[in-house]
């Protein structure tokens, strides 16, 4: 890529580091910005800079926020007796979009993965435990991903939360909407059969 001038080459390289962006797309984005008016490029640059500047973790739920505690933890509309435990901040938006959940969250920032050296120490597990010990929490919903690390984390959380007098639940497992029975794996089908439900009247 030495035939490119340095600023162009640099931006292409930066774009290619982003998820889902290959070298081709990075080039397209860079040349697009080159053609745009200066204000457009500056607005983008500013948005990127502010992203990191004002953002920190909520001291209660560890979601990313621009004020502490975050708007969810501060809200009086929300049910403060229910905590939904998720792996990462980006898991919250899809749950919020459903509009079904009115409780609080707790972000673990990862999963237990002993082979890669991630254990309970590296996650916000102690913090979850102390939130659950203050007596106001009645239910913890474990919403870790339905894969090996997510399961291990879920089993560990069940174990440390069981001695407390709270209800522990996990999200239903089964067939994703839009999938086909024929291609579902056995694990998913097992869980779908075990978790079958009566039709709502």
């Amino acid at each position: 890529m030495s035939f490119l001038i340095e600023p162009v080459d640099r931006l292409i390289r930066e774009f290619s580091k982003l998820p889902g962006i290959g070298p081709k797309s990075a080039q397209r984005l860079t040349y697009y910005l080159l053609k745009e008016p200066d204000e457009e490029a500056s607005a983008l640059a500013e948005a990127i800079q502010n992203l990191k500047k004002d953002i920190r973790l909520c001291s209660i739920c560890f979601n990313i926020t621009d004020r502490d505690p975050c708007s969810i933890c501060q809200s009086k509309e929300r049910d403060h007796s229910t905590i939904c435990v998720v792996e990462k901040p980006s898991d919250i938006a899809p749950l919020e979009r459903t509009g079904k959940y009115k409780g609080l969250y707790h972000v673990l920032h990862g999963t237990i993965n002993p082979a890669q050296g991630t254990t309970t120490e590296n996650l916000k597990i102690k913090e979850l435990l102390s939130r659950c010990q203050n007596g106001s929490v009645k239910e913890v919903i474990i919403a870790t991903n339905p894969n090996m690390e997510g399961e291990t984390t879920s089993l560990y959380l069940q174990r440390i939360l069981t001695p407390l007098d709270i209800t522990i639940t996990h999200l239903a497992r089964g067939l994703p909407f839009g999938s086909e029975l024929e291609y579902a794996d056995d694990m998913t089908l097992n869980q779908a059969i075990e978790g079958r439900q009566k039709f709502k009247q």
């Binding site: 002993p114 082979a115 894969n147 090996m148 291990t152 839009g178 794996d185």
Partner: protein, 261 residues
């Protein structure tokens, strides 16, 4: 055995690394080709047909295409998903350790059907066993045996004298037992009781099912754990990460402690 351009194999997924948003780089263990690395494209998408078929700790039949750099998994169908293993924290954690040892003791593209059988059998035995530690010890001894590190348990590794039924010594450096006389000159050998030696000799000859039915006193169990793990640590030149996790779990089991013996 070298791999054809397109091939079918039955593999146990022993490790995964997420690549980008949706792909996974898997480490597979197979009877025919030994350890393999292959990409499962799009496996993390919710509607992926690979999905649960290529999760770690799953025994699947796979269709794989040889790629320029890495092989690519085109299809997968679960043979055994080890659901009992995945349903319990202690079981899962023990299998993390087993998978890690297989990964550490093997090289890519070097078939070892005995090791494959051992891995599969251990994953079946674990959920059935009440004393899971014995299953782990049995596995440790046998992965050593089939990887070329079989410890010499019959005679002194130094002077080849037959071993007396007394306290002898285990030397990780020599890879076997030293008689008390030879052990005097060997730094880093540690005592092994006559019962521990007898137990290891029994495990060498019996199957896992039999081994796990023999009850061990806690002191003997921890002696065997120490001998085998010190030897493994010496060979690998490092501590296994999953064994540290097992230790952490044991320490933190204030409620419903795992049955370790």
């Amino acid at each position: 055995m070298s791999r054809p351009r397109n091939y079918q194999t039955q593999a146990i997924v022993i490790k995964q690394i997420k690549i980008g948003e949706f792909d996974k780089l898997l480490t597979l263990y197979t009877a025919e080709f030994g350890k393999l690395k292959a990409i499962a494209k799009g496996a993390c998408r919710p509607r992926s047909k690979l999905g649960g078929n290529v999760e770690p700790l799953t025994y699947s039949s796979m269709s794989i295409a040889r790629g320029r750099n890495l092989d690519i998994i085109t299809q997968g169908q679960i043979i055994d998903g080890f659901p009992e293993l995945k349903a319990e924290l202690w079981n899962i954690s023990c299998s993390f350790y087993i998978q890690e040892l297989v990964d550490l003791f093997t090289m890519e593209n070097s078939a070892n059907p005995t090791l494959f059988e051992l891995l599969l059998e251990t994953l079946h035995q674990l959920p059935k066993a009440t004393n899971k530690e014995t299953v782990l010890r049995y596995f440790e001894l046998h992965i050593l045996n089939c990887s070329g590190y079989r410890p010499q348990l019959q005679k002194c590794v130094r002077c080849t004298a037959p071993l007396k039924s007394t306290t002898n010594f285990f030397s990780p450096r020599e890879g076997g037992i030293l008689c008390p006389l030879c052990a005097e000159k060997e730094y880093g050998a540690y005592p092994i009781s006559a019962t521990a030696l007898k137990t290891m000799r029994l495990w060498e000859t019996c199957d896992c099912d039999t081994a796990r039915r023999v009850k061990l006193r806690p002191a003997l169990a921890s002696e065997l754990a120490q001998i085998l793990q010190n030897y493994i640590k010496y060979l690998l030149q490092k501590e296994s990460k999953s064994i540290s996790w097992l230790e952490e779990l044991k320490r933190s089991s204030f409620d419903n402690p795992p049955r370790t013996h």
